[in-house]
């Protein structure tokens, strides 16, 4: 019976994925023509031909790489799944498909809920007045995001007047419907949900046309539940209100906008009083939600299961990335049904190098090559722990070893050298921990490791004078600044330079680190933009707020050394992101809390300690906190402690 149910669900999942893209008026006399440079037919017959019908008649579009199938969010419901236009730019054809955000919201939700319903139930959930009220509250709260970010949504939601309350009533009911079913489906599987978090790297689950993750609905509901249930948390949270007020007050009168691009769902698109208040509470509910998601797991957390799921995910991501890069149809399909923030890469240059002989990173399915590199390395690291421990316990476990080659290949393609180096260091530390090696062997291993790491990292960087390499970041920051619009950071640096004062030791140290890990230019760009007031420097601008950083100060628009446009370049450090959000005090508190957690892990579980060290070091030079899948997974590892952890 259960197998039959699963088959029915799988058929229904396929139906949800395929059927909407074959909807069109088949009784009219419009039949798709072969695509050529003469596009008059498709200019006249917009919204008349479904993409399915079109692909049947133009099969080459689905696999030839000079075609791009792109989602057109700002389109009518009637145009959903149909061709809304075709453009030719040089030799590339852009086939635009109507993906009305409201219809997509329902289709994506149903698709993901059906997939999640394949997970075995662990408990029953009852409908009560309390949880009904919480669902109302969370739906209302999420609906507010459309109001707060109306500048973003007015370009996405076709024919909704965002100045009318009536429109928000519609959104509220739509949100409530999905939140309701999502709550009951996920809550009845809550004890095992955290093991499925690695699959979020495959299914990012960001709604097309929305600045919203599917999981945000559930985490917000859990967060509000936690707040309602716990007296202690309510008391602690009361300390949060004055900080929210200071953050919001600082944004009073500002109205900076940021196109979220690949970090859609994780940031606020606008910086003003209302959005800062809203995103602060979003952050609060999501954090509490992740905490509750973690505490919902009844059994002790099984690292081996999470590790195996990470490995399986890396393999699937690699295959999906390949399909996405080579087949326009998969590129579009993956974007929509896996809820990606950005289309999978179309680059098929897996082994390419730039003019300076550096390997080009290949991101594949996921929007960030760096994050997927960390994810792959983490899977290999956990696999290694399991492998070693199974031999130690004389029960060799070779299962899942089959997934290791593709995970390693994925790490290679991502060109995340720091993840690779940290992987080697953590493996050596683990070997050192379980084997009692004599000093001589340790020294030999250390020398070989150093030589090996040197061959990966650009060791020629050490040949520059320490003064010039340390100052590079500051000098670059000054060069990126525009003299009519310097940021307060650049003004401070210029002040030091003009008065012949030496740069402070902390900046010199940061400069040296950034130079060695190849971050000096990117962090210099951040410094050229960073224009904090004293309060912003100390307590930040509030969570999810990057709009002011990117809009307040104009900087030189081209890279100093390559001449390429800068575009939307992230700071490439999660610590910098946390520093922008929470300021120096917030970052220090996060560090203290995290290091305390790591210390606990070291005392009781060495593997957990190594995993946390791996994450900590890698976050220093990656933007992973800006992706909800990575943030959730890493928080699960951080939140673990001795009592709850076992494998």
């Amino acid at each position: 019976m259960k197998v039959k149910n699963k088959i029915i669900k799988l058929i229904f999942i396929s139906f949800v994925a395929i059927f909407p893209f074959f909807l069109s008026n088949y009784s009219d006399n419009v039949t798709p023509e072969k695509i050529t440079s003469d596009l008059r037919f498709y200019e006249i017959n917009t919204c008349s031909i479904s993409i399915g019908e079109f692909l049947i008649n133009n099969l080459n579009v689905s696999y030839q790489d000079h075609y791009r199938i792109v989602a057109n969010d700002y389109s009518s419901i009637k145009c959903f799944g149909t061709i809304t236009g075709i453009d030719q730019i040089n030799h590339v054809f852009y086939i635009s498909v109507g993906t009305n955000p409201i219809i997509t919201f329902f289709i994506q939700s149903i698709f993901w809920l059906l997939i999640m319903s394949l997970i075995k139930k662990t408990n029953n959930v009852k409908i009560t007045y309390k949880n009904s009220l919480i669902l109302f509250m969370s739906s209302f709260f999420i609906t507010l995001s459309i109001f707060v970010e109306s500048r973003f949504y007015e370009k996405k939601l076709y024919f909704f007047d965002l100045t009318l309350y009536r429109s928000y009533f519609y959104f509220f009911i739509f949100m409530l419907t999905i939140t309701f079913f999502q709550y009951f489906i996920l809550e009845s599987r809550k004890k095992v949900l955290i093991y499925y978090v690695p699959f979020m790297f495959i299914f990012m689950q960001v709604y097309s046309g929305f600045n919203l993750y599917f999981l945000t609905l559930y985490l917000t509901t859990l967060g509000i539940t936690k707040l309602v249930e716990s007296n202690n948390i309510r008391k602690i949270i009361s300390l949060f209100f004055p900080i929210v007020f200071i953050w919001s007050y600082a944004a009073l009168g500002d109205n900076y906008y940021l196109d979220p691009d690949k970090i859609r769902g994780s940031i606020s698109t606008i910086y003003n009083f209302l959005s800062v208040s809203y995103s602060s509470f979003t952050f609060l509910f999501i954090s509490l939600g992740i905490f509750k998601l973690f505490s919902n797991s009844e059994r002790k957390i099984d690292l081996s299961l999470i590790g195996k799921n990470i490995l399986i995910s890396t393999n699937i991501i690699l295959i999906l990335g390949y399909l996405s890069s080579s087949q326009p149809f998969f590129n579009f399909f993956n974007y929509l049904f896996f809820g990606l923030t950005k289309y999978g890469t179309r680059s098929q240059e897996y082994f390419s190098y730039n003019e300076w002989g550096e390997k080009l990173a290949w991101r594949g399915h996921f929007p960030s090559a760096e994050t997927i590199g960390e994810f792959s390395a983490l899977g290999i690291l956990i696999l290694f722990f399991l492998f070693i421990d199974s031999f130690k316990n004389k029960k060799p476990n070779l299962n899942y070893l089959i997934f290791a080659p593709l995970a390693l290949f994925s790490l290679y393609l991502s060109n995340n050298r720091s993840a690779f180096v940290m992987l080697i260091i953590c493996i050596l530390l683990k070997i050192n921990n379980i084997l009692t090696l004599n000093k001589m062997i340790k020294i030999i291993v250390l020398i070989f490791t150093f030589i090996f790491i040197s061959s990966i990292v650009n060791l020629e960087n050490l040949t520059y004078s320490i003064n010039s390499s340390s100052q590079k970041i500051m000098n670059d920051a000054i060069l990126y600044g525009l003299d009519y619009n310097y940021s307060s950071t650049v003004e401070y640096l210029l002040d030091l330079q003009n008065n012949n004062l030496s740069f402070p030791a902390i900046l010199m140290f940061l400069g040296q680190v950034s130079f060695l890990i190849n971050r000096s230019e990117i962090w210099a760009i951040f410094m050229a933009r960073y224009n904090p007031t004293t309060s912003e420097f100390l307590i930040g601008t509030g969570p999810q707020q990057l709009s002011n950083l990117y809009s307040e100060i104009n900087i030189f628009e081209y890279k100093l050394y390559s001449g390429f446009p800068i575009g939307f370049l992230l700071p490439h450090s999660s610590f910098i992101i946390l520093f922008i959000y929470f300021g120096l005090i917030g970052l220090a508190l996060i560090f203290i809390w995290w290091i305390y957690r790591i210390y606990q892990g070291r005392k009781y579980n060495y593997d957990l300690f190594l995993v946390n060290v791996f994450i900590l070091i890698n976050l220093a030079k990656s933007d992973s906190v800006l992706y909800l899948p990575a943030l959730t997974l890493f928080l699960i590892f951080i939140l673990n402690n001795k009592k709850e952890f076992n494998y």
Binding site: I44, T46, S76, I77, F106, K126, I127, F159, F174, F181
Partner: protein, 115 residues
């Protein structure tokens, strides 16, 4: 005299309609006699925001320059689509959502009662 005024009025109204659909005439706009050139190809104007035009049968076309827009509008592509349709579809979705929600609540209440 009367026919001359009528002609002016007709031109004025036609310009008003073009302006309604295509926006204000660009400063450097030069009219082209498209009818005399059977091989005429419209060029995209990067400064012009693409406009969707509709004919009487609700067919739609996207125009990418003021000249193209003017040509289509004057050729009869000057119908405003049945906007009620979109609102009707929103209402339909609202109804389906409320129905699903109510069914879900009843289903889970019954499950509560049974257990």
């Amino acid at each position: 005299m009367i026919s001359m005024n009528f002609l002016n009025l007709k031109v004025y109204l036609s310009n008003q309609i073009v302006e309604q659909f295509c926006g204000l005439k660009p400063v450097n706009f030069e009219p082209v006699d498209i009818a005399s050139d059977p091989n005429f190809v419209f060029e995209n104007d990067p400064n012009f925001s693409a406009v969707n035009l509709y004919d009487a049968e609700n067919n739609t076309v996207i125009v990418n320059s003021y000249l193209e827009c003017k040509h289509y509008v004057e050729g009869g592509w000057n119908f405003i689509p049945n906007v009620l349709n979109e609102v009707d579809l929103h209402n339909g979705l609202l109804f389906i959502s409320l129905f699903s929600l109510l069914s879900g609540v009843i289903y889970f209440y019954r499950k509560n009662y049974e257990s």
